[in-house]
Symmetry: C2
């Protein structure tokens, strides 16, 4: 594990890293039980079984279903961080941001969508999960704002004031284009193109100083 | 019950109407158990209890949880039909459509949102529920297309060809602004105004013959 990655996930030394890898592996296996049976339908026993472990051993890694959801969100946030680090260090951060958003819109109907739909439903009932999810979404909004701030060479505070609302609408549209948040849209290039055009226009207008 | 309404819900005569009213009442009570325990967490026993009935009697009205979800969706579609009938017969259908969309965006964080989040999660796992939900969404898209066709005086087929994609993006944005489909957004007038501006621009552009 490279140095920066281990810092990001907050582990140090070989033992913790091994444990991190093992958690990741368990997460990948247990999520099938979540998707198949739902958050409430899947017992800790089911989750342990899906991971090929005894319930006692499983509890050592994830003491609750909420802990498992937290780990799933943390894993996704790590991916988001890596993506946005690549955008910020690219030659053309604006083009890289637009390309990333395009990729997200185009790749709707993911393997993970039923899992996210499940997490959203749980969030509507459980405030602790809702808070985790809200933090995840704010994290994405902040990273979009940072890229727009970098492109327009504005200080952080000014960038946030100017770009936050637009970034939130962009996240809302990208989220809406994913499958888990509604009936899976038919693979429709006209629809995707209009979604992307709407997003690009939001970005171009706010960078040009319109709409604020 | 007025003639047209009884036709819409597919019931005839006093007995069926009484049964319809009773179903509606049970639906209103049982949904609390869904919201509280989730689709998988709530047993038919829980649902019957929430409706103050014996399980046997409850089964007579709703033989399965899927039947209950179907009834919830049918109830909402009935509301949608009434709303769009009012839009079509108003003096200014375009203004009425925009006002309705504004209302929907502004009223985010509804009492019903956790229920919809739950239904979406179930849809990701159960194809029959997904099909019901897709039908509901197509119904809304078709009604928006009809209003735009009425405003631009185009025949139905031509209206569908020209407006369908825009109507789908509008539905996606309105859906995304609701609470049940993501972390409940803070009551934020800047956010709502930008969402509405984005929707209005989609409508105005496509009516002006741009974007197609």
């Amino acid at each position: 594990m490279p140095q920066d990655l281990s810092t990001l996930v907050g582990v140090n030394g070989a033992e913790a890293t091994d444990s991190g890898h093992r958690s990741e592996e368990i997460l990948g296996l247990a999520r099938h039980a979540f998707v198949e049976k739902g958050f409430d339908g899947a017992s800790m026993q089911d989750l342990a079984k899906a991971a090929g472990m005894s319930a006692g051993n499983f509890y050592r890694y994830f003491p609750s279903k909420a802990a498992l959801v937290e780990a799933l969100i943390a894993r996704d946030l790590l991916e988001v961080e890596q993506t946005f680090r690549a955008i910020a260090t690219s030659d053309d951060p604006l083009a890289a941001l637009k390309a990333t958003l395009r990729e997200r819109v185009m790749e709707n109907c993911q393997d993970e969508d039923p899992l996210w739909a499940e997490i959203l439903a749980v969030a509507a009932r459980k405030p602790d999960i809702a808070a985790l999810l809200a933090g995840f979404e704010i994290g994405i909004v902040q990273r979009i704002v940072s890229v727009l701030g970098l492109v327009s060479q504005l200080p952080e505070e000014e960038a946030f004031r100017r770009f936050e609302t637009h970034a939130r609408v962009i996240v809302l549209i990208v989220r809406g284009s994913a499958c888990g948040h509604g009936p899976c849209p038919a693979a429709d290039s006209d629809l995707n193109e209009l979604i992307l055009k709407t997003i690009d226009r939001l970005i171009d207008d706010v960078l040009a100083g319109k709409d604020h």
